[in-house]
Assembly symmetry: C2
Homo-oligomer: 1007 residues x 2
């Protein structure tokens, strides 16, 4: 047991020593000294390669056995491949052994070496000098260290040839590299000038694609371990070069070497050496230790570095974890900043400042809430203007194409749907054509100039209902609809501008997660409901003849029968009698109607009636529609998930995932074409003219209505304004969520300004009014999400933010505008496919909504519930209560929406905010902070820290928060003032914990 | 840093000491002494509960903060719930601190305590005696330790009431339990007689359902940590009671307490105390340490136990792992046997023996290969007979019901399909009725008496082809088919019996993974192919009229037109002229055929012709069939996976998963009924009589064919025998795979014996021949898999084996037999639904086939490939080569199967074995051992160990296997002979590694 070797058992009584206020250990003092200076540029990233010595009779070579950028990759001996990157699991042994190695071996810091032979010469010289090595071994050591290095990339040539003809008893051929030496036998006596190492990078090195994974300025650290027969005691050396130098073929990639660790030992303990090699390699890629290694002044600094490492190490009990399991790299690794900051020379105040800065940095520099309450339009413009050029050049990316296709299809489907409905509601005063034109114009203007170009404008349900009521009212009271509408629009636009001028957007302060998620869930449900309703509609529109018996196909027919004044027609007979009376020639040549040749519509038009069993039914279309609808939805869902599958290279998978909607649409349009069934297709207008011939493209404001209508229209306008304002601002809040990590901030006032302006324009042109569409905007954001291209193997891609630009939006709406010319292509798209896309949009926008996650909790037994942060801090019954309140609110809204009361829908959303305010009296602020907080979960921890800290400082001495973990950093900033010398290195039994354990926001234990 | 406290820096030169042969440390000696005796009964499982002291002003209480059975469950303070079970991550600190605690504190072993007050008295007495505690603190300590214990199960009542009306500024209400003390204020001076602890278990304890998770004989260890104001140095005590005693409400559940660890310390370091508490709790649930704790003679034994624990600990570097991540319990935890065995007193040879035994034990006591090569029928019977009763009573389980339903549906579908095809092929000499009767009889006999009742008999494709060829041959050559067939069957049955008698089943030795997986993949493909082919058939059988235009419904009709001798009929006209000439009354009253009223079939029968656009088409049925087919398949797949979802309690999920097929079938039968479409339905014969009227239920062997036919039929019989033998034995090998962990062993000879007997019987009765059906048998096994009911929270369910019994099989076939009476129910099941089940069966049986996994590797980039064991040991290109050979073989077999050459199909499977033998010359034995080995992967490691060991002993001194990890245990057994004293405790730099790192089979480093 290593304890024996590190000095035996601790003395009794020590326990009490360590309870006294901590003294700074010499090791901590050392680290403080070398790491204290923050101003230096950061050290280069270290790439570590471990080579082990392979024997083959007399021959030896160094074979790469593992490498590290951040995580370990091991060479699978048999598989001749790299393992998956994994977390290095070490044994305590190897770390203690390494510590001993560094204490006893040769440590050469800032050696001025230019080539491997010279460096090795220097090391051996030093060893002999210190009496660690017998001079007669000089040549042998040197010979061994200068053997050739074989890297994993380089396949052993002799094997691939020998493989095929390998005999059954191939036991011996398993010896790697048995014939790979070109020179047959070299005696040990031959001098080191016979080294296998060249000074220039080999072609293998240069060809190695792995270099792409290594940062440009990286330096290498080489670990060489092996056993040799002639040594009796180990030969250990740690070398840091003054300048990073290319040491020929030592490293797999042409990266200059800065560090060299050599461990040669007597035969028989290769496994141990190997573990020590892994330990130093893991240390070298540790952020803090590599800093120490770069800055170490002597041996003791390095050992202090190891001690610090041991101090922070995480220990897994042997009975609960199988060390054979390779641990996958975590989603997020802890930054070394915390550990480093302990050794920083800066004072507490500054450190707090730094921490705050870092926090904001990691938050992605989101929108600063402060400004938008008080800044208004001017500030919005001032804030957005500098980004304007980048809004264009940042849009050019392959991802944008998929986003454009996706959103374009969403937009035209929406335009057609709402256009059709509006046309029905307003007797074609506003039809599909107006809808297209309005969408294109309003959308592109908004994307070009608004504060948040990621928002997509569209017609929405409440507006549709409003228009319908308005039209009926006008018609019933003899008021000219278009003129009346124009005035309402103008009033409403004015009211919007007043809201902009008065900075009324402050109300978004009250739009918490409760309101926001309630609203977006509602809109998602409407999407899903509508998609399914339309699908079910297909079954009504194309009724299926369920009584059809294939054998009795002769019984099914549908005939057009001429109106028969005599009424003597016998139903079910094949042909009316009269026709037969006519001679055949006359019958055909007759100018009279040939009733049998009439289509269903024509027949009814000319007053005929349809007789027969098959008249009511339309075969196949309903089922085909269902297949197209459901197929598009599920294929999109499957392809989206394909990103996480194991097949194909990452880039291809990402491409497939990005274009999933496009591919599904193509696939099912293809299927539809293949079957050739007459499914309902997307039909866009092909002529650029108003749907109604009696209206033009401009509505004249005066003349048709009495003067008081111009004023009275201010009242309905108020309703429209509330509707527009709520719809617009809630969607904007959702889009500007901190989770989306937007860099370019929001522009609530600017957005509303443009919505107002566009409203006026649309009113004048007699086009529908437009407002932010929640679901499509979320889909837009989702399709533009960026992730890091992983650099170090094993590192998880991090969500970087959204591609914030105006290009996709503008192109989408320009395309919408010219869709009139795209009709020949678009007419191939069946409507059920588009409803499938709608369903997908609705379902996808439910994802990531915490409310939805909380709803699912109802169905999960407590022990299976995911480890949501809020579950750790709020009792389940409180969470359920909160969710229930939301469900009730949604149900009420849904009922409202479905009735004529829909017109007061926007007012009800205001009521939602009120309900949320009332909840303040039911739930504690602590609970609400966790459940109903717009701050993303990661930052929550920080927030919580601060809160707890404040609370702690208030002198609340209740100890119930005690058992929670304390982050080292927070703890030190808090404890520092108590001691004259900052407690930089933690000492057992001290109140500063070594490492935070197992999650939860960090809180402070009381003094 | 703790190193300082454990004795400072190691002395220089130590490195060389530790390279010398290891000496046994005193700690190891101690462990050897106390753990050496293997004969004692195992110690009870320990349940550990950690309570922390909570202050609320003057009031104090002990609050449960975590518990352990195997893994840690923490109380989420805010969430008032248990966390998910997770691996305890400790810090090195806390472990070293704990070590110090045990060194300095009071350790009372085998204290004879009957109540908590008495135990505490004893502990305090001892502390005062040893001068560790000032006598004046006696009362205070005692008071603190006797405070009430509050467990997580008990909700604080005041909160739930106060919650609702909580005000906005609820900061203060966060203090837990502020008003929960019934007695308002107790001064410290009050004596320990005022304790809150009762001696009898409380109702809360008794009501706690958690007790179910704790093994019956478990004992508790209680950890109490807390900070108190009045102490200046910590009060530490470790108590082991002589007898486990119920200490009232101390433990959450009524489990008697055996161990007690108390740590009270000065205020301000609660976090540290907490971590120490977690460390001792984790140690107490460690298998080895708990043994040590039970057997420890003194303090030093405990410390030796901690040292051993530290020695085996797994270390994660702080830069690569975030300690806040809770680590999910691994699928399989390492057994403590390895660690324990090091300390066993037994000698090396015995230890090897033990290891072997353990290996076999973990293998689930599968079939012993040795016996079946030489034992034959007698041994099979002898082996199976003792299991016969259990084969029945073990069948009564809810799971059996789902298995029966699943397999029953598979069987009748198969019977109908093959029955129909056989009827076609043999002119109804063997039809659906014969198929049902034969399946029922052969299947139930086989399940009742065979060696492996999990095998399901069925008709198979090759036999169908054989019958077809035979019938055609007989017809062409004037031979009586039934009699000829009888003789072939009799010959074949005889040949089978000869094979049984000569123990010919030895050939299965050559059926390796290569053959086995090739065969079962082929059969799976045939299932999938057939299901899809039948589905596509529906589109041909029910053609879709893709030109149909709903508006022109009047144009579509199909009329029956009477044969028109004059030929003057004008196609496309509505009615032939002649009819019109007849007066209507006459037309109706006429006894002549009313052509318009005829069905399609009748029309064609009477020589009429069908005229019209809709004659060729059948609406809706094809698409509906597709929806039913695909819906059944995907719903089954989804429901199967539902077991792994988070919703609903585990039992319900398991039920849903088990009954997934049944539920999908119900669902889609319901859908079909709802639509009422005339989809093709399952039609079983309702009358018990041969399909052909001219045959009876017995075939007379003589009289119809010339005498030489009786002898000549031996030749075709040989082909049938090979076919039956291969089909039967390969399926048996697949069913008896070691992965299935069958306890009741195989019975290859007995199986074949019954197949032979049944063949003779079927031949006499003129029924089809039956042989093991691969896919259905695999489905049978899959539906009967057992898993452990998890006991300790966090432990993963382990696959236990298959419910081996005869009940399911027998019931399935009895049901098949009486299906004739079930026809009124079965007629509701549409065929497409059953094809969906077939597709599912085919796809499901591909899962877990290594060949299929290897095929998928072609599509995966190397870095995304799963961590299969064989990938670590065989180069990818060799694996790909092997897979390609298999693919080519399968392709050849597939082509053969599709042509008339299908009759030599069984011979080709023999060829597959030959190909595999040839591969021995292309691949090394090492590679083949990894890729083509019937030993399951887990055992492979062990096998590999042994192989490597042998190789190592042969004196192969190549060191290329060196860097691989060595298992501690294997290493010690190997190294032991070299040292006089077994090296039981590993010492740094020694060749024995502390713990195997990162997977791979363990191999030995050379001496």
């Amino acid at each position: 047991l290593f304890l024996k070797h590190t000095g035996g058992l601790p003395q009794p009584g020590l326990l009490f020593q360590i309870f006294s206020p901590p003294l700074v250990s010499p090791a901590a003092e050392r680290l403080r000294y070398i790491l204290g200076d923050d101003d230096e540029p950061p050290n280069p990233t270290l790439f570590t390669e471990m080579d082990t010595l392979q024997h083959d009779g007399e021959e030896m070579e160094w074979k790469e056995s593992a490498r590290w950028i951040k995580f370990e990759e091991k060479v699978e001996e048999g598989g001749e491949r790299w393992s998956k990157p994994h977390v290095s699991t070490l044994s305590l042994h190897s770390l203690f052994e390494l510590r001993t190695c560094l204490q006893t071996g040769t440590v050469l810091l800032d050696l001025d070496g230019y080539s491997l032979p010279q460096i090795i010469d220097d090391v051996i010289e030093k060893q002999i000098e210190d009496g660690l090595l017998k001079p007669e071994l000089r040549e042998k050591i040197s010979y061994v260290l200068l053997r050739k290095h074989r890297h994993q990339t380089k396949k052993p040539i002799h094997r691939s040839l020998a493989d095929i003809g390998k005999s059954v008893s191939s036991n011996t051929s398993e010896c790697l590299g048995s014939n790979s030496y070109p020179v047959a036998s070299l005696s040990h006596a031959q001098s080191r000038s016979m080294n296998d190492i060249s000074d220039t990078p080999s072609t293998d090195q240069l060809k190695n694609k792995f270099i792409k994974k290594i940062p440009k300025d990286a330096e290498a650290s080489n670990v060489l371990v092996g056993e040799v027969e002639f040594l009796e005691k180990p030969f250990v050396a740690f070398v840091r070069l003054l300048q990073a130098t290319m040491l020929g073929g030592v490293t797999e990639v042409p990266v200059p070497t800065r560090f060299l660790f050599i461990l040669l030992g007597p035969a028989g303990k290769a496994k141990s050496y190997n573990e020590i090699g892994r330990a130093i390699a893991t240390l070298m890629v540790d952020d803090l230790f590599s800093d120490v290694a770069y800055k170490a002044r002597d041996r003791e600094d390095l050992i202090a570095g190891i001690d610090e490492f041991l101090d922070e190490v995480i220990v897994l009990p042997p009975g609960e974890w199988d060390p054979n399991i390779r641990i996958e790299p975590p989603k997020k690794v802890p930054s070394a900043e915390k550990r480093k900051s302990v050794f920083s020379l800066n004072e507490v105040g500054q450190m707090n400042g730094t921490a705050g800065g870092a926090g904001a940095g990691s938050g992605g520099g989101g929108s600063d809430d402060g400004e938008m309450f008080c800044g208004g339009l001017y500030l919005d413009i001032k804030r957005k203007l500098p980004w304007f050029p980048s809004d264009f050049y940042e849009g050019f990316h392959i991802q944008s194409i998929s986003a454009i296709l996706f959103i374009y299809l969403g937009c035209i489907t929406n335009a057609i749907t709402f256009g059709g409905l509006l046309g029905d509601a307003t007797d074609n005063y506003q039809g599909v054509m107006e809808s297209f034109l309005g969408t294109a114009m309003a959308g592109s203007m908004f994307c070009l100039f608004a504060g948040q170009p990621l928002i997509i404008l569209s017609s929405t349900g409440p507006i549709l209902i409003f228009e319908k009521l308005l039209f009926d009212f006008s018609k019933g009271n003899g008021i000219d609809y278009m003129e009346f509408r124009l005035w309402i629009g103008l009033h409403s636009a004015l009211q919007c501008l007043i809201l902009v001028a008065t900075d009324a957007s402050f109300i978004i302060k009250y739009i918490t997660r409760f309101t926001e998620e309630g609203f977006s869930t509602l809109i998602s449900f409407i999407f899903i409901y509508d998609a399914i309703k339309k699908m079910i509609g297909a079954f009504k529109y194309y009724p299926i003849n369920s009584d059809f018996k294939p054998d009795y196909v002769t019984m099914y027919k549908c005939e057009c029968v001429a109106p028969d004044p005599a009424g003597e027609l016998i139903q079910g007979t094949v042909a009316p009698r009269e026709w037969c009376m006519l001679p055949w020639s006359e019958f055909w040549g007759n100018t009279a109607l040939d009733w049998t040749q009439l289509s269903k519509k024509e027949c009814l038009k000319y007053g005929g009636s349809l007789v027969g069993k098959s008249c009511k039914f339309v075969p196949d279309l309903a089922l085909m529609s269902f297949i197209l609808f459901f197929g598009t939805y599920s294929m999109t869902l499957t392809l989206k998930k394909f990103k996480f599958s194991r097949y194909f290279p990452t880039k291809l998978r990402k491409l497939i995932s990005d274009f999933s909607i496009f591919m599904s649409i193509l696939m099912f349009v293809g299927l539809d074409v293949l079957f050739g069934l007459n499914t309902p297709k997307l039909q866009v207008p092909t002529d650029f003219k108003p749907t109604r011939v009696d209206r033009g493209w401009f509505v004249f404001p005066f003349g048709k209505n009495p003067w008081w209508v111009y004023l009275a229209s201010a009242l309905p306008a108020l309703l429209v304004t509330i509707l527009i304002f709520m719809d617009q601002q809630i969607t904007a809040v959702i889009v500007n969520r901190k989770e989306h990590k937007l860099r370019k901030a929001a522009g609530y006032h600017l957005d509303l300004f443009w919505v107002g302006i566009l409203m006026a324009v649309c009113s004048f042109m007699g086009l529908p009014w437009y407002v932010a569409a929640t679901v499509i905007s979320i889909a837009h954001i989702d399709s533009l999400k960026m992730e890091t291209e992983t650099s170090a193997p094993g590192e998880q891609p991090q969500f970087l933010g959204v591609r914030e630009q105006r290009v996709t939006g503008i192109i989408v709406f320009v395309l919408t505008g010219i869709s009139v010319f795209l009709a020949p292509i678009l007419k191939y798209i069946p409507m059920p496919v588009l409803y499938g896309v709608f369903l997908y949009m609705g379902v996808a926008s439910l994802n990531g909504i915490q409310f939805w996650d909380r709803c699912k909790l109802f169905l999960m037994p407590a022990k299976h519930q995911p480890d949501y942060v809020f579950l750790r801090h709020v009792p389940l019954r409180r969470i359920h209560l909160f969710t229930l309140v939301q469900i009730v609110c949604l149900a009420v809204l849904w009922i409202l929406k479905s009735t004529v009361a829909a017109i007061i829908f926007p007012v009800m959303i205001l009521a939602l905010i009120l309900v949320r305010r009332l909840l303040d009296f039911v739930f504690s602020q602590h609970d609400l902070a966790w459940i109903d907080n717009i701050i993303p979960e990661k930052e929550k921890k920080k927030e919580d820290d601060k809160k707890k800290k404040k609370k702690g400082n208030k002198g609340d001495s209740s100890s119930d928060e005690e058992p929670k973990p304390v982050s080292t950093f927070t703890a030190s900033t808090h404890f520092l003032p108590q001691f004259p010398v900052p407690s930089v290195i933690k000492i057992p039994m001290e109140p500063l914990p070594p490492a935070p354990q197992n999650g939860g926001p960090h809180c402070l234990s009381r003094k």
